[in-house]
Amino acid sequence: MAIYSFWIFDRHCNCIFDREWTLKTNPSSGTTNSKLNEDTAKLLYGMIFSLRSISQKLGSLDSFNEIRTIATAKYRAHILCTASGLWFVLLSDLKQEDLSQVLRYLYSEIYVKTVVYNWLSPVDFAETANEKRGQGFRKIRNRQFLLAVEQFLGPMVN
């Protein structure tokens, strides 16, 4: 089992959380909410956005056709789109065929309980109009959340 990175995007196309592991052998390696990952986040968002619009066209009209995974020759991206417009994205190796349960847990047990239920956490990470459309810079810095993500995903890194 190997996972490479974990991303959360909000409904304003901003990346509000990113965690990338750089060494498979060390679950505490890598970066959290890194400025250097901004461009990668935009590329990832763009790729999912385009494929999502394709899949919605290909699906039948009376039901949603949400995107689940994207695989290249080297890695696989697992995607969970929530009704509130959040995207949870997990990049893993090709042996992981379906991590939707992991993403669902990250959303319902970790994100909802530590960010949504937290009174001090902002409802919307884009505070002004010019922080929308991918221009936002605010990230989830909640210690509880970071700790819970670390504890849950750490064992899956290598």
Binding site: L23, S50, K57, L58, T72, L94
Partner: protein, 196 residues
């Protein structure tokens, strides 16, 4: 799993061939298919850009990781497709790709980094790149991430490429990069998909 649509995208991102195999396939207008082809062309390049850092770091050890779903097994036996290189069930030759010079060994995909496979709630989409930049895309009617299904689909697209080489490229009336209107290609592609 049934094949819903097969698309051929030329090296500049234009749609040159589109065919539905399922009667109740969602009808997209030809304009929408063109947009779809162009979008896929862009995504293929982007997907290789966002390769995770940890993979880039130990990339030297697995620099040729192109054929990971196939593994390094040597048995090219694929369910529903028969042994690669064998004749078809009814013995009818399907073109030169059945000759002994093709498909005798497990193939390493040329697509070492780009987009390969997308699953959604209802479909999965397989992409096969050729060395010359043509992309063959198959849309199937069921989501699957099974490595064997991906390998089968990739083989189907590789055989489509062989049919393309035989009946499109060898057609003296075909203009390169233009929409494919070759009756023989249509016919043989229909046979190939029906055999699945």
């Amino acid at each position: 799993m049934a094949i819903q649509t097969i698309l051929v995208i030329n090296k500049s991102g234009g749609l040159v061939y589109q065919r539905d195999f399922v009667p109740n396939a969602p009808r997209l207008s030809s304009n929408e298919y063109l947009i779809l082809a162009g979008t896929l062309q862009g995504i293929v390049a982007i997907a290789s850009q966002i390769t995770p850092k940890s993979l880039q770091l130990d990339g030297k050890s697995s620099a040729r990781g192109g054929s990971e779903p196939m593994g390094n097994n040597s048995a090219p036996l694929v369910p529903y497709m028969g042994t690669l290189g064998a004749t078809t069930a009814n013995g009818a030759p399907l073109g030169s790709f059945l000759g002994p010079d093709y498909f005798n060994d497990a193939f390493a995909s040329w697509n070492g980094r780009g987009l390969k496979h997308v699953t959604t709630d209802q479909n999965s989409l397989f992409v096969y790149h050729t060395l010359t930049g043509i992309k063959f895309v198959a849309v199937s009617t069921q989501p699957t991430t099974n490595a064997m299904a991906v390998a089968v689909a990739e083989n189907l697209l590789r055989k489509t490429y062989c049919l393309y080489a035989d009946y499109v490229m060898k057609n003296p009336f075909y203009e390169p990069e233009m929409p494919i209107k070759c009756e023989l290609f249509d016919q043989h592609l229909g046979t190939l998909v029906k055999q699945l």
